[in-house]
């Protein structure tokens, strides 16, 4: 977490990535991270199980400066959708979810839903699955680590997904009794170092320092031609934007044209920030904001570490998209 001040009695700090990682597969860990599992009302029918079938493959992406880089990616086979090229799963809190992965990568991987569940080590060429109870309503991140490689295991850039837990109330609200919204977007920030494009940490003696940046797998200007990354709405709509960062850069995301309300950080309801125009989104964390579209027009939203709005240094590419209010 970016801020670790002397907390006041009523400040609820968001859990740090370290706390989330410590809390893997542990109810106590979830509680320490401020995440509390809800219980199903007595007598309610047991929720259905959702299966998320994914395949880990090597693919590539061409950036606007003419560079094409390889990526490891999860691709959905069944049971989910995509946001951009990122696998996306939604299920009701408290329901059972099975993540099944076929690993077509040349390395062994350890899939992990941060703060929720750690999967099995899946060897190259193998398949395996893991099952968990959908955590309380909010935004969660699937990533994976290179198992059997350098120690500690390196997080593998691109093998990612976003999971949204819907409130059991069935209402279009962030959590039961939480903010409501008219439209919803998921923006996943990822980065890569073109010198070592398939791992997101120090490798081969090179200190990881990203120079290519994607938003749901795309770079500007493709972001504004894709329905998942162009934030389109009508005037006065309330737009829920789930910012998720699986890049290694700690980002702060600037909104042109609007202050937004920070609703939750790492699914902990916000009690600290007032309206903001620049939102810190640390690595491995999620920040859900509500934008009230109180003026028409087209307005950029982008990180203010402006190298992230480039591809190989060339501006404007990278993690830039637009809000388009009609």
């Amino acid at each position: 977490m970016q801020h670790e001040p002397m907390a006041t009695d009523d400040q609820v700090p968001a859990p740090s990535r370290r706390q989330l990682l410590r809390g893997l597969a542990s109810t106590a860990g979830l509680a320490a991270a401020g995440i509390h599992l809800s219980t199903r009302p007595a007598g309610a029918a047991p929720p259905a199980t959702t299966t998320w079938d994914l395949e880990a493959v090597q693919t590539s992406y061409s950036f606007g400066n003419g560079t094409t880089l390889p990526f490891f990616r999860f691709q959905p086979l069944a049971g989910g959708a995509t946001r951009g090229v990122i696998p996306f799963l939604e299920a009701v809190e408290g329901s059972a979810v099975t993540v099944s992965i076929s690993n077509q990568l040349p390395i062994d991987i350890l899939p992990t839903v941060l703060g929720v569940e750690r999967g099995p080590v899946i060897p190259s060429g193998g398949s395996d699955s893991f099952t968990f109870t959908m955590p309380p309503a909010g935004t969660y991140l699937l990533t994976s680590f290179w198992w059997g490689g350098p120690m500690p295991p390196l997080e593998i850039g691109g093998t990612s997904g976003v999971m949204v837990s819907r409130p059991s109330s069935g209402l279009q609200e962030l959590w039961h009794g939480g903010p409501s919204w008219d439209r919803e977007y998921v923006l996943l920030y990822e980065d890569t170092d073109s010198r070592t494009p398939l791992v997101t940490d120090q490798a081969g003696g090179i200190q990881y320092e990203p120079d290519y940046f994607t938003l749901d797998g795309f770079t500007f200007p493709e972001t504004v031609s894709q329905p998942d990354t162009l934030i389109a709405a009508d005037k006065d709509d309330r737009i829920l934007i789930r910012h998720s960062n699986l890049g290694c850069m700690r980002q702060s995301i600037h909104y042109h044209g609007f202050h937004v309300d920070v609703a939750a950080r790492n699914n902990v309801p916000e009690t600290f920030f007032g309206p903001k125009d620049t939102i810190p989104v640390p690595h491995g964390e999620t920040v859900d904001v509500i934008l009230t579209a109180n003026q028409k027009g087209k307005f950029p939203v982008h990180p203010h570490s402006l190298t992230a709005v480039t591809a190989g240094g060339l501006y404007p590419l990278g993690q830039l998209t637009l809000i388009d209010i009609n």
Binding site: Q2, H3, P5, M6, A7, T8, D10, Q11, Y208, E209, P210, D211, C248, M249, R250, Q251, S252, H254, H256, G257, F258, H259, E270, T271, F272, F273, G274, P275, K276, D277, T278, P280, H283, Q295, K296, G297, K298, F299, P300, P303, H304, S305, L306, T307, V309, T310, G312, G313, L314, Y315, P316, L322
Partner: protein
């Protein structure tokens, strides 16, 4: 006359300057910046980095007349002021101002607080070279000792731009491209001064009487996160991005992401002299890349 509280009004002028060549931390660097049209200096009328600040009044219709006196296109993006698309200063959604061109940016000043402006043309290089400045929106009554209507009052006020330079960027790059892929700062500053100058800079160092309230406006105008401490003096974080925080917090250090602004309030109780420090942090590892210091004197 320069200083906070001396540029309050509803009408301001800015001109683009691409001819700065200050010596900072013993190194000469090329800087680009904004000055008032009648001046050739930026911040506080005595330096070429950062740009001049201005202080509009909440609720008033504000006009910023920009004259592009330089050889490249530029704009004024009013960061955090939630202006309309036409006045947002983004070439991709509005337009750039060509060499010799003029445009008057108009907006109604929102909630009193700390904002900034910067050029949004080839932003990664124009911003890095110094084309940014502070906007302090004053309360509707124009007072300069009150953070916002109903907000805290103060006896002393300071404004710190937190910024680093990669001298290779500043001295060799005119456009974004492979040379601006990675920012490796070698000059670490507060208000355009490295430590030696910042320690004595009258527009940066803070002098406050024991028992008096000091209000410090922080702008992270860098591409790296910054961690601020006030030499062990505790402070209260009361506002961010021009809005009061729901729950002000008392602490001894604070971190700001690029583009964020935070307002701090502190009331030292005993005479002392300490050095405040800004650490600039690696985006991925959090390691300290370098630091800048200034002084706080409690009389």
């Amino acid at each position: 006359m320069a200083g906070l509280g001396t540029n309050v009004g509803t009408s301001f002028s800015l001109a683009a300057r691409m001819n700065g060549f200050p010596t900072i931390g013993g190194m000469q660097v090329s800087t680009w910046f904004f000055s008032p049209i009648q001046s050739f200096k930026g911040f506080m009328g005595d330096r070429e980095l950062p740009s001049v600040h201005f202080e509009p009044i909440e609720g008033e219709q504000i006009e910023v007349a920009f004259t592009n006196t330089s050889g490249m296109e530029h704009t004024i993006h009013l960061h955090g002021l939630d202006v309309d698309q036409r006045h947002d200063g983004v070439p991709q959604t509005s337009f750039a101002i060509p060499t010799g061109g003029t445009f008057t940016y108009k907006f109604k000043a929102p909630h009193a607080g700390t904002y900034m402006y910067h050029c949004h043309v080839d932003t990664v290089i124009h911003f890095a070279k110094g084309m940014y400045g502070a906007i302090i929106v004053r309360p509707p009554d124009g007072s300069t000792n009150k953070a916002w209507t109903g907000g805290p009052t103060f006896d002393t006020e300071a404004l710190w731009h937190l910024h680093t330079l990669d001298s290779q960027w500043n001295n060799t790059q005119l456009f974004s491209g492979p040379g601006t892929a990675r920012h490796h700062p070698d000059i670490f500053m507060i208000n355009g001064n490295a430590t030696a100058e910042a320690l004595v800079d009258p527009h940066t160092r803070i002098v406050v009487g024991a028992g008096q309230k000091a209000y410090l406006r922080l702008l992270n105008t860098d591409y790296h996160w910054a961690r601020v401490s006030l030499g062990g003096l505790p402070f209260q974080v009361v506002a961010s991005d021009g809005r009061p925080l729901q729950t002000p917090v008392t602490t001894g250090t604070w971190e700001l992401g690029p583009g964020e602004r935070y307002d701090l309030l502190f009331t030292p109780t005993t005479p002392t002299s300490v050095n405040a420090q800004v650490d600039y942090l690696d985006d991925a590892s959090g390691a300290v890349l370098g630091s800048a210091q200034t002084s706080i004197v409690v009389t």
